[in-house]
Amino acid sequence: MIISGHASTTISTIKIHPLWPTLTRILKSSSISISNLKKNQVTVLDRAQTREKGATLFFSDQEALSQTVKMASSSSPCAACKFLRRKCMSGCVFAPYFPPEEPQKFANVHKIFGASNVTKLLNELPPHQREDAVSSLAYEAEARIKDPVYGCVGVISVLQRRVQKLQKELDDANADLIRYACNEIPGVLPTQRRSLDFGRRMGDGGSSFYQASDLSLPYPPPPPPWPDNKDGSS
């Protein structure tokens, strides 16, 4: 519902706000409902979601306060704007992701990627993905600062080696399990106890060595029946 009457006449009854030119433009261009115009400030709810950047006004009315858009920048600047020594405008793309309490986060990101590159990256993403993007950029930047040669790739290679080692252990354990399941390993006397690391003990001689890396064995089968003690057989 567009405000009835002339927008300029209505606005003239309200005290001057710094963002009046923007308000005028919004009132004239978008479908807006305004309720409870007060003398002090006005909050505009843009139902078409086409609000201008930086066009922030406030209702003093409690009902409309719940629908308030972002406040004009009277709070402390974000870490990015502090670092860049500029005024933190209300539509600052960095503000939601670089709070003033974490200055080092932006400092790292700025050092590795640069503010303009980060702005471009964030602007290419939908808003709901920007937080994750900033977190990953901050992680990469920190990794690059700690390890200027390899950065994140160093972490990746360490993790890949760990995966390979674990996979090899799993393959060895599965191979031993297959052998036990098939009773191909002779019984072990109690005096010849060994650790669970059977793979190393078996060596490479086993002709039945099973190399499946993603083998999933069923529950181990019951052992074969022992010579029955009840009938006295030896």
Partner: protein, 160 residues
């Protein structure tokens, strides 16, 4: 350096490629996409600064890593190569879980075999005696015979 032998960086930046161009060894002209991705993500000046801070023998690896990170970020603009790290972490957890389960199964098998071995040894030891064994449970009232079931040995024989 002549016009025709400019490195990919200087070609992209549309400048002359000096002989001591720091980027030239790592961004050859035959692979323009490599520098394009690095420039998009890190920026040319940041790349130059990062390489300048490193000793010469480490710059090639640093350039390769930056190229990989830039390509990952272009492919996945939200997570970049951090997505790969996350996947590897998950893979490690899964493999550790599988390994623990397999080792538990192996322990079960081993324990079963040990029990069977102990029983076999005890049975063989009992066969060697001619008469009733006096080293069985002293509370046992009847002598032991081979046709009887084995008593339950909660306590080891006294002479062992």
């Amino acid at each position: 350096m002549s016009y025709s032998t400019r490195c990919a960086a200087c070609k992209s930046l549309r400048r002359r490629c000096p002989q001591d161009c720091i980027l030239a060894p790592y961004f050859p002209s035959n692979d323009p996409q490599r520098f394009a991705s690095v420039q998009k993500i890190f920026g040319a000046s940041n790349t130059t600064k990062i390489l300048q801070q490193l000793p010469v023998h480490q710059r090639a690896e640093a350039a390769d890593c930056m190229s990989f990170e830039a390509a990952s970020r272009i492919q996945d603009p939200v997570y970049g190569c951090v997505g790969i790290i996350s996947q590897l972490h998950q893979q490690i957890l899964t493999t550790q879980h599988e390994l623990a389960m397999t080792q538990a199964q192996l322990a079960f098998h081993y324990a079963q075999q040990e029990t069977q071995q102990e029983r076999r040894i005890m049975t063989q030891s009992q066969v060697q005696y001619d008469g009733p064994s006096s080293w069985f449970d002293p509370n046992q009232k009847e002598p032991f015979y081979l046709d009887q079931p084995l008593p339950d040995f909660h306590q080891p024989p006294g002479f062992l």
